[in-house]
C-alpha cells in the first residue's frame, strides 16, 4: 500500500545510506510494523519537511548508543518537532540512530497514517511496547507533555506543561539514560490563539487550534510557516531508584528533567538570532 502511495517520492541517498548503516536486525518487518526498506521512502518524505525548517542541531553527540529515552518539549500543533528530532538522529548522529517515536494511543485508529508511521518505526505509547524496545537497545522518542504540549496556545508558548511519569518509570525499570532536548522554533510554525474544545470533541481530535491567519488565509493558515528550528540535545541524565516508587518520588525525578528541558529552551530562545 505504501509503495503505491509513495511511489513518486524519490529516495534520498543520504537517508538510505543512514538506514542501511543501522544494524536493526530486521529483514522484512518487525512485529510493530517497522520496515527498513519502506522507512527509507518515508524518511525521504520527512527529509523534505526537515529541510523546510532548516534546523540548527547542537549536541547530537550526546545521543548515546544503546537504550535511551530522548525527551524533547512538544509544540507546534503538528508533530514536526518529532520529525525534525528523528531525522536529526538519523542524519547527524554518529553512528546514525533510528529513533522509535511513541505516539498517542489513538494513533492506530488513524486511517493511512497509522500504516505509514508504523513502517517508519512509530509505536503506540504503551509501556510494555516501550519496555520491549528499550530492552532491545533502541532509542525511544517520547514527549512527556503529550498532546497538551503540542496543542499549546500562543500565550503559553515555550512554557512546559506537566510531564507524565511514564517515561521516568520506564527509564528506571530498564536502566535507560534520558537525553533532554529543546526544540525552539516549532511554536511559531503554526500559531494557535485559542483551542476550540467543543469542536475538538466533535471531531475527536485532542485540540482544535484557531490560527490568527484564519480570516485571511482560510485553511491555508494551518500550513506551517518556514520558521527555523533550533534543536539542542543535552547531556544524558541517569536516574536511580525503584521504578514502582510512590508518585511523589517519581515526580521529583521528573521535575529534574522538566527543569533541564525548560532551561535549555530558555537558553535557546535567548541566543536564537530570529524566528526565521
Amino acid at each position: 500500500m505504501l509503495r503505491d502511495l509513495l511511489g513518486t517520492v524519490a529516495e534520498v541517498p543520504e537517508i538510505a545510506r543512514a538506514i542501511d548503516a543501522i544494524p536493526t536486525g530486521v529483514t522484512g518487518y518487525d512485529q510493530w510494523g517497522f520496515s527498513p526498506e519502506q522507512s527509507k521512502l518515508l524518511y525521504s518524505l520527512g527529509y523534505r519537511a526537515y529541510r523546510y525548517f532548516r534546523p540548527v542541531i547542537e549536541g547530537i553527540e550526546n545521543v548515546p548508543s544503546g537504550r535511551v529515552l530522548i525527551v524533547p518539549n512538544h509544540s507546534g500543533q503538528l508533530p514536526f518537532d518529532g520529525l525534525v528530532v528523528a531525522v536529526a538522529c538519523l542524519l547527524q548522529a554518529q553512528p546514525p540512530r533510528l529513533v522509535r517515536p511513541m505516539a498517542e494511543r489513538w494513533f492506530p485508529t488513524l486511517p493511512f497514517l497509522n500504516v505509514a508511521l508504523s513502517r517508519a518505526g512509530v509505536v503506540t505509547g504503551d509501556p510494555l511496547t516501550c519496555r520491549n524496545l528499550l530492552e532491545a537497545e533502541n532509542a525511544i522518542l517520547v514527549f512527556p507533555e503529550g498532546a497538551r504540549g503540542s496543542g499549546k496556545v500562543w500565550s503559553h508558548r515555550y512554557r512546559l506543561v506537566d510531564f507524565g511519569r511514564g517515561f521516568m518509570r520506564l527509564a528506571l525499570q530498564t536502566g535507560s539514560r534520558i537525553v533532554p532536548v529543546s526544540v525552539v522554533g516549532a511554536e511559531e510554525s503554526i500559531i494557535s490563539l485559542t483551542d476550540v474544545k467543543p469542536l475538538a470533541r466533535f471531531l475527536h481530535t485532542p485540540y482544535f487550534p484557531i490560527s490568527p491567519f484564519l480570516p485571511l488565509l482560510g485553511p491555508l493558515a494551518y500550513v506551517p510557516l518556514p520558521t527555523r528550528f533550533y534543536v539542542t540535545f543535552g547531556e544524558p541524565m541517569r536516574f536511580e531508584g525503584p521504578f514502582d516508587d510512590e508518585d511523589e518520588a517519581i515526580d521529583a525525578k521528573v521535575r529534574v528533567v522538566k527543569d533541564r528541558v525548560q532551561s535549555m529552551i530558555d537558553e535557546g530562545l535567548a541566543k536564537r538570532p530570529g524566528v526565521f
Binding site: 493511512f112 503506540t124 511496547t129
Partner: protein
Amino acid sequence: MPAKVALITGIAGGLARDVGRELQLRGFGVVGVDYRPTTRPLDYPATVYQANYNKTKVEDIFRRHQPSHVLHLGRVGNLKEQAGKRFDLNVVGSQKVMDLAVRYGARRLVVLSTFHIYGAHPQNHIPIGEDDPLRAGGDFPQIADAIQLDNLALHWVYRHPEVRTVLLRPSNVVGAHLHNAISGFLRQRVIPVMLGFDPMVQFIHADDLCDAVLTVTEHDAVGVFNVTGVGALPWREAVAIAGGRALPLPSSLAAAYLAVAGRFAPALPPYLVNFFKHPCIISDAALRAAFDWEPRIEQAEAVRRTVTDTRA
C-alpha cells in the same frame, strides 16, 4: 495394548490427523474422535469414532481405551455452526473431555485454544503475552464459547496438577490441507482489506503447530502458551503472497461484505473484521523457554504453502 494411548479429538481435521500419524510412529496407540464424519480414512492404524464431545459415547471411548494422553484439538472453529451447537461442543463437550481425562487417569492433557480470544484492539500490547487481558469478548460476544473453553483448560492446569495440562493459543493456523476459515480465505481470488489499515498478522503453518503439539505432548511442563510461526507480516503482503486481489473496503462495508461473501465462498465471520484492522501480535517466548522449541516456517512460506497446492 500400547503403553501409551493418545486420544485425539478433531481427528477429521488436518492437524489432528497429522498429529495422530506422528504419535503412532512414536509408539502411541491412537484413538480419534470427531463430531464430524471422518470422510477420508486415516492412512495409519488408529481407532476412530464419530461422537459429540458432550455425549455419553465419549465416556465409553475413555473407558474402553484408558488414554494416557488426551489431545483436545477439536475446538469447533467452524463459525457457521450455530452458536448453541458450538457451546455444546466447545464448552460442555470440552468440560466432559477434560473431566474424563482426570477420571481415567490420563497423565497428559493438551488443549488447543486460539489467539482470537485476545481480540484485535488498537490498544493491544505488542507482543501480547499469556497474562494479557482477553479483549475479544467485548468486541464480539460470538467468541464467548472459545473464551470459556480456554478458561476451563486454564482451571485444569491448576486444579488438576496430576493431569499435567498444557493450553496452546495458536495464531492463524494455515496449511495446504487445512479447510479452516483463514486457509480458505487466503485461497480466495478476491480478498478484502481494510481501507487505510494494514496490520501486522501472524500465521503458524500446520507442520509447525503439529510439531509444537508433539513436543508438548511428550514433555512434562504445564501452563498456557502462545504459539506462532517465524516473524510477522502485513496483511496486504500476505494477500499478495497468496496471489489474491486485494479489495480495499471501509471497515463498515467489510463486515457486510464478509456476511454476504460467506454465503457463497469460504469467508471469515464478519466479527473477525477487526483482525484486519488492528494488530493482534502474540509472543511465543514462554513456549520457547519452557519446551526448548521453536517454529521453522517463515510467514511468507506458510502462506505460500497454504495456497500453492490448491490454486495450481
